[in-house]
């Protein structure tokens, strides 16, 4: 019991939790924007991979880190556009299209990586983002120590939570996105374009997902590995339901998840001798399923989610 408390009051633990949560924050925000507009984006897992690969590749080819992030976002946006075209004007199954985008983005990333680097035995490394040192800030007790170890991308993620919350709840654009996810006919009757709003939301959401992927290769690690996304995208889809499609709750969900994951890593070092390591590795996935199940009953799905909208069709 004391040991658990020790872990929880250790700023290093929270620093790890926030680090684990960062890609999820990007992913959950991205998925949330798509779903608020009425489009489920199961391309997320592949878009994470593509973002991780593209961002890293750009930097490895000589771009600076922020350009790498921009490249990742752009690549994510392109895959988002693909999903959006299939699901919005074409009205195809969002489930199947999303799986298709994931398979496509993943295999294309792997193919491109292998084609660019045919025979490397160990993955080449880049110099990743370094922890941000803000004068005075890092001296704050506890919080300073937890946040002091974070890179600029984490701060970008935290800023985006505020920005997305503000846009959705305070601006005409946010109202329009929420409306199109509830009743596209309402949006069209007011002279706005269902097509434009949904396609735009999916592109922007996908760009955020890709930045989440880029965080993995450009901040958490310094290289690209096959299979490195490892279900993080799917976890985000579960967290969106858990977060009731609200950015604040999404942040909370991602942080809780990160804390749990960091906790199981600490726990593993304590009791790892008695319990196989895989049991701990399983916990995040089981936790996500549990979060989804717990939230599913009272989940207030955007009413138009998964429903294609055809203008003027009977």
């Amino acid at each position: 019991m004391i040991e658990i408390l020790d872990i929880l009051v250790n700023p290093n633990f929270w620093a790890a939790a926030i680090r684990i949560a960062t890609p999820l924050i990007f992913g959950v925000l991205g998925a949330l924007i798509c779903e608020r507009s009425g489009v489920l984006n199961l391309g997320i897992e592949g878009i994470f991979t593509a973002g991780a690969m593209a961002g890293w590749m750009a930097v490895w080819l000589g771009a600076d880190l922020w350009t790498g992030v921009a490249v990742a976002a752009a690549v994510g946006g392109v895959f988002g556009l693909l999903h959006a075209i299939l699901t919005v004007p074409f009205g195809l199954s969002q489930h199947v299209s999303g799986i298709g985008v994931t398979l496509f983005a993943t295999s294309l990333s792997y193919f491109a990586y292998r084609t660019a680097l045919p025979d490397v035995s160990s993955p080449p490394r880049i110099t990743p983002f370094q922890p941000l040192d803000i004068e005075g800030f890092s001296d704050l007790p506890f919080i300073g120590a937890a946040l002091f170890q974070q890179t600029p991308l984490t701060f970008l993620a935290l800023f985006l939570v505020l920005a997305v919350a503000f846009i959705l709840n305070r601006t005409p654009l946010g109202f329009a996105i929420r409306a199109v996810g509830d009743n596209p006919a309402a949006v069209e009757a007011q002279g706005l374009s269902v097509f434009g709003l949904r396609v735009g939301a999916v592109i922007v959401g996908s760009a955020l997902m890709a930045i989440g992927g880029a965080f993995l290769t450009m901040s958490a690690f310094d290289a690209f590995f096959f299979g490195m996304v490892n279900g993080r995208g799917w976890i985000c889809i579960a967290l969106v339901v858990f977060a009731s499609w609200r950015p604040g709750k999404a942040l909370l969900g991602a942080l809780l998840f990160g804390a749990f994951d960091a906790f199981q890593v600490r726990l593993q070092t304590e009791v790892g001798a008695f319990v196989p390591g895989q049991v701990f590795l399983m916990l995040p996935y089981l936790l996500s399923i549990f979060a989804l199940v717990a939230a599913a009953r009272k989940a207030d799905y955007p009413r138009a989610l998964l429903k294609p909208y055809f203008k003027g069709q009977r």
Binding site: N183, A185, A189
Partner: protein
């Protein structure tokens, strides 16, 4: 009158120019509008003008093309032929770009759809402001907008709480938001599609008073309706559509009920006489049923329907009819209370109620009635696919299914290429015939018919009514849930009213009149109970 009737045969009665206020220029001009959906000619060469400050009723049966015409006007559909012109505020007619709701809004056309186009997760004011400001403006102060809206509300009498989420507003309040949406955008033409379908008679009266005062201010109003009474009382001019063609354009004061009915239907209708049949024992008995919460709740509902009678249940949609139908259909368990069929108390489930001889004609026939992707034959046997007649050892007996389909298609005159045709492609009337065939052919003890003629044309409606009368003659107990008072008075021996989840004691239809039922639908106990 006689000369007018003669004109019916020759083409359009009245005509666009005949009764127009000559000194005024038209605010809206539809010319030669034609629209096809596949083989169906929904609108054919329609000409219609609208002048400032008048209220025009667009009258026609279901499927006559009224909604299509208005959707073309508003840019949801693009006409195959024809032009729409609308006057600028200066009075000059300009062609309106088609297929663009945005252009229609900008030109001053406001539309209140039958199914409201509101985002239920936003407040009233946010719905009204949607699309009125640049999407990318970072700050969205509503102060000036609110001030303007409050003035509009004061002037028009359309008051509603602007800061409540639309999902929590009543249907009437939602409609007010819809009208405010148009007024906020300075609409000069307001189109309302079946505006009274979801209102009580009293609410409807208020609505028309408001519309009249708006027209007096100069607004031009078109409302779509198939209800003769409101057309006659609320409009200045009537345009009648039949099978996609404009068949009359007349000042309202020159019309009467029978004449409009003749023009609308194209032949004179004899009201079907209510046959008296001896009432049998109670076959459906509900005792103290309560369930749900909010708008779709039931409170202590008790009801008995006897063999050989049609009991009509009147009510404005959304007063608990849905919950009642779901419980009787066995789709939902009530929180308390019990249900008996022919004296046997049972736990409702679709299978159990069907086994006891209760059949159901669902309210939403596309959602609950048929599986559109399956064939006509499969839909005809879907309720009985486990019975020995259509399977052995779990394998389907295709010849028996086919035989059954042929028989039903023949007996019920289901118009389709054959039993193998995909059900989704059939018209609403023919889909309803599939449902009638598979339910009424079972010689049911109890029939639950929820809005059985909604959206059907006159021919199909008559067919449904005839089949229900036949079932009654065979001794079935029929519970008819409907919003259509004409239908209820025509069909029912007794009528009960459902309001906010409570059902009034049924009374003999012969001793009731429409206004009494209307008051009860609005929640007032009628005082002259005897």
């Amino acid at each position: 009158m006689a000369s007018r009737a003669k004109q019916v045969a020759n083409g359009i009665i009245g005509g666009p120019m005949s009764d127009a206020p000559a000194e005024q220029a038209a605010v809206l001009k539809l010319a030669g509008i034609t629209k096809r959906f596949g083989a169906l000619l929904a609108n054919h060469a329609i000409n219609l003008d609208l002048y400032p400050g008048e209220i025009v009723a667009l009258l026609g049966e279901n499927g006559a093309g009224k909604t299509t015409l208005m959707n073309i006007l508003f840019g949801h559909y693009v006409a195959d032929e024809g032009t729409v012109q609308i006057a600028t505020p200066g009075g000059e007619l300009r062609p309106l770009a088609q297929g663009s709701p945005q252009a229609a809004l900008k030109a001053g056309i406001g539309m209140v759809h039958q199914h409201f186009t509101l985002a239920e997760n936003l407040t009233g004011i946010d719905n009204i402001l949607l699309g009125t400001r640049s999407l990318f403006s970072p700050f969205a102060s509503k102060r000036s907008a609110r001030a303007r809206l409050e003035k509009i509300m004061r002037d028009s009498g359309l008051t509603v709480d602007l800061d409540t989420r639309v999902s929590r507003l009543s249907v009437g309040e939602q409609q007010r938001i819809e009208i405010l949406k148009a007024l906020y955008r300075d609409a000069r033409v307001l189109v309302l599609d079946e505006p009274t379908a979801v209102l009580t008679p009293q609410e409807s009266e208020n609505l028309f008073q408001t519309l009249r005062s708006l027209a007096d201010e100069g607004l031009s109003i078109v409302f779509i309706s198939h209800k003769m009474a409101e057309v006659l009382s609320a409009s200045d001019r009537v345009a009648v559509l039949r099978h996609g063609e404009l068949v009359a354009d007349l000042p309202t004061k020159a019309c009467d009920r029978n004449m409009l009915a003749d023009i609308m239907v194209g032949r004179h209708l004899e009201p079907e006489a209510r046959m008296e049949v001896d009432k049998g024992p109670p076959l459906l008995k509900l005792s103290g049923i309560s369930t749900g919460h909010g708008r779709d709740a039931l409170h202590n509902v008790s009801l008995e329907v006897h063999g050989g009678e049609i009991l009509g249940l009147a009510g404005v949609s959304g007063n608990g009819q849905g919950a009642l139908a779901r419980i009787i259909s066995g789709l939902e368990l009530p929180r308390s209370g019990s249900m008996e069929i022919d004296g046997r108390r049972l736990k409702p489930a679709p299978r159990t109620v069907m086994r006891e001889g209760l059949v159901r004609i669902p309210e939403d026939r596309h959602r609950d009635g048929i599986v559109g992707e399956m064939t006509v034959a499969e839909n005809l046997v879907i309720e009985d696919v486990r019975s020995k007649a259509f399977q052995s050892f779990g394998f389907l007996d295709f010849s028996a299914i086919e035989e059954r389909a042929e028989e039903a298609i023949e007996a019920y005159d289901i118009r389709c290429p054959g039993g193998g045709a995909v059900a989704r492609l059939l018209s609403g009337g023919n889909i309803q015939k599939i449902i009638l065939a598979r339910t009424l052919d079972k010689e049911p003890k109890v029939v639950l018919a929820a809005q059985p003629t909604r959206g059907l044309d006159i021919g199909a409606t008559e067919d449904v009514h005839r089949r229900l009368f036949e079932a009654r003659a065979r001794g079935a107990a029929i519970l008819l849930i409907s919003e259509d008072l004409d239908e209820l008075f025509q069909m029912s021996g007794r009528i009960a009213v459902i309001h906010r989840g409570k059902v009034s004691p049924p009374r003999e239809a012969a001793g009731l009149n429409r206004s009494q039922v209307g008051l009860m639908m609005a929640g007032q106990e009628s005082e002259d109970a005897t």
